[in-house]
Symmetry: C2
Subunit: 235 residues, 2 copies
DNA sequence: CGTGTGATTGACGCCTGTCAACGTCTGTGG
DNA sequence: CCACAGACGTTGACAGGCGTCAATCACACG
């Protein structure tokens, strides 16, 4: 699983990917580089399981990972996606709890494992880093609260439109306005919190209405305004 | 609004209510006592509004406060309840954002306003406190993620049963097994994320099934097992 | 006693989940 | 190179959970 062809250096990676670590001192970078371990994972591989005790957190260098919880009947609920520069698993480390989510690779990924001790010593010794990490947790908390409200009050149709816009904002479009993240219909359903069939029907409605175009998993965003409106995303 | 009859001392309050501040040094307590301001609020009063910039956070000494977001058509979504010992508004202070929720008094409340500077200086100077605060944010984040999954996957019936159990766990029962928190039907609906009428119908179903008993806003929990089962709360 | 807020009940219908069948594509093994 | 299995996508039928609207009741308060 290790990949020795390309071991990213934290200094450059944190700058390129604008990660939390970008303000560390050279000494701290050295420490981090020394203690981290790099891995390569292909789509479908699991990084950690809900309910397991994890011994460190992970910093994504390349690729996309989905973070999800398993609900009734094993149905996944996708909580968020992690992309280069993001740190995952820090929640369980800081609060010293078992992992409350699982994480699985969506797009082939290079990531670095950071042992719990290393992360915690950074938190304790570097107030700025500690503050940044706290901000991150607070930001995620704010987003989670917003999503609770959405999912509790909006229809599936509204949520799907909203998710499409969010995906566009987070992962961007290619030159043909196609979403730069490729998800199965089931994964889309597991973000929105609905059945796969509902996603399929609504997507083809959106297509009929000229809001998007579909070609397999490629979703072309044609009318951002329209989707934003359907998603009730003003205010 | 100020109440000079009873100004709680942080030392004793934090111990009694088991708050985050319980591990401060005497010097820090002095600082906190000096800079805080105490207020008394009656049911229905608003502490802060979503979208406003708040200049500090609040520590609850007595009473109950609901934290909620306003969604479509002004419908409330209750995110959590704060009770004595809890700190609210810290998220906006730490991440330096506008308040992403509003908070309103459910039961007459005494609380202390802690200026942003005071809180932040504690965070920067006391790694233990900082760590505790981070744990708190992480804990709330874990709970929010769990609730996203619930609300996306469970039926209204299941969620209502679950909420009743949660309310029992958080606020306890009196000698007659009646919930120690008094909420309107609408507030219950705004936790569960449903219509008031649905809550009413389901509550009376639960009553018919002998799971609870109703007397106005008093909800008597008669069958914890049964509710837990309906709420799918094992695993 | 009028007014307002909250609680309750009934009618109605649509959104959405479930089930089932079938089509499509990809990779694998014979 | 073909057959097959398995994963994924699509479509239709159907029912029921739950939201919405409206009317009425209960109760507190000025």
């Amino acid at each position: 699983m290790k990949n020795f062809q390309h071991i990213p250096q934290c200094e450059t990676c944190s700058l390129e990917n604008n990660s939390l670590f970008r303000h560390l001192s050279q000494e701290e970078f050295d420490h981090l580089n020394y203690h981290k371990t790099c891995y390569f994972h292909k789509r479908g591989e699991i990084i950690y399981h809900e309910g397991s005790r994890i011994s460190g957190s992970y910093c994504i260098n390349r690729g996309i990972i989905k973070i999800y919880k398993t609900g009734i009947d094993g149905k996944e609920q996708i909580i968020l996606f992690a992309k280069p520069g993001d740190i995952i698993g820090y929640r369980s480390i800081l609060s010293n709890e078992l992992a409350c989510t699982s994480s699985k690779v969506i797009e082939d990924t290079t990531l670095c494992f950071i042992p719990a001790d290393t992360l915690i010593s950074l938190v304790k010794s570097n107030p700025n880093f500690s503050m940044e990490l706290m901000k991150l947790a607070c930001k995620e908390l704010g987003e989670a609260n917003a999503y609770i409200t959405d999912i509790a009050q909006k229809t599936v149709r509204e949520r799907l439109a909203e998710i499409l816009i969010h995906l566009k904002d987070n992962f961007g479009l290619d030159q043909d306005n196609v979403l730069q993240i490729s998800l199965t219909r089931e994964e889309l359903a597991n973000i929105v919190g609905t059945a796969t069939e509902s996603v399929i029907r609504l997507l083809s409605e959106f297509k009929t209405d000229g809001l998007i175009d579909l070609n397999g998993r490629k979703i072309k965003i044609q009318d951002v305004q329209g989707l934003t409106k359907i998603g009730n995303m003003f205010r």
